[in-house]
């Protein structure tokens, strides 16, 4: 956790110093995409080579669906509270 945080902070500092360097930043954006592609390819490799996870896939998918539905339900509930009590003007407080 600390390593990830430290590396990200170092990157943000480097990025701040590099702002305005259009060519470098464009290269950075493209490199970032390719590293993400590579890591997701690795993730696919790990899963494809693991019979246990392959068999579990439908169940894991269902679990993922439940987690996302509850994450959304929770966040739109607090968004409703915020909307109701801090954002909407009087008279239009019903969404």
């Amino acid at each position: 956790m600390l390593i990830v945080a430290a590396i990200m902070f170092a990157g943000m500092l480097a990025g701040y110093l590099l702002r305005g360097q259009k060519k470098v930043l464009r290269f950075n954006a493209r490199l970032t995409m390719w590293v993400i592609y590579l890591l997701l390819f690795f993730l696919g490799l790990a899963i494809g080579g693991d019979d246990y996870i392959m068999h579990q896939l439908p169940e894991l998918g269902l679990l993922a669906l439940v987690i996302s539905v509850m994450a959304i339900a929770g966040s739109i509930f607090t968004a409703w509270l915020l909307w109701r009590f801090a954002f909407s003007k009087r008279g239009e407080d019903k969404p």
Partner: protein, 200 residues
């Protein structure tokens, strides 16, 4: 959206390659991927630190606008905690880590895969993709049942890019700045929060 398909395409390609089991030994992913993850975190950091528009958007900071991402974080963590009561498969920390992806599936899934397991990495990938898809499909419905901030909340970290168009069409153009601010704050927080919960 095109970027999302490419990302998922590489993931599926990886699964196929893993099934065929024909890759040379030196490509054993686990060997390098921690270092690749560190590289990714550094590159993402550069992107955030150099983003002038993001810095300018963050400068519009005030208490009211800050409440929106805080509300999304609170609601998301509460929501996924409820799952813990009826699913024994995952610990609370694991659920919170998956929820802390806030729709940023590429980053959250690779962090979870590296720091925890490929199994939970897949759950994070699918769950956060689904969060984005549900937001794209149901944004107008969310406005109807729980107000104009709800598509922003539902979109999570994606409210600054992939779900921004649907948010402004469902809630109104005047919500674009809030959506941007919200998405930027969550995007920066995702790696920290995911790594925090997963190493619990």
């Amino acid at each position: 959206m095109r970027g999302s398909f490419t990302i998922l395409g590489f993931f599926v390609l990886g699964i196929l390659a893993g099934r065929l089991n024909q890759l040379p030994q030196w490509l054993d992913a686990g060997q390098y991927s921690t270092w690749v993850l560190y590289l990714l975190m550094f590159l993402v950091g550069i992107g955030v630190g150099a983003d002038k528009k993001a810095l300018r958007t963050l400068a519009t900071f005030n208490l009211k606008i800050l409440m929106v991402p805080l509300s999304t974080i609170t609601g998301t963590l509460l929501g996924v905690s409820v799952v813990w009561f009826f699913v024994q498969q995952l610990s609370l920390a694991e659920l919170l880590a998956v929820g802390s992806g806030f729709g940023y599936y590429s980053l959250s899934s690779v962090i979870i895969t590296e720091l925890h397991s490929a199994e939970l990495g897949v759950v994070a990938l699918l769950s956060n993709v689904i969060r984005e898809v549900i937001t794209l499909l149901f944004a107008p419905f969310f406005v109807h049942i729980s107000g104009k901030l709800s598509p922003i909340a539902s979109g999570g970290a994606t409210s600054m890019d992939t779900t921004l168009p649907i948010i402004t069409s469902a809630s109104g153009k005047e919500f674009a700045l809030i959506a941007l601010f919200h998405g930027i704050v969550l995007t920066v927080l995702v790696p920290f929060m995911v790594a925090f919960f997963i190493t619990f």
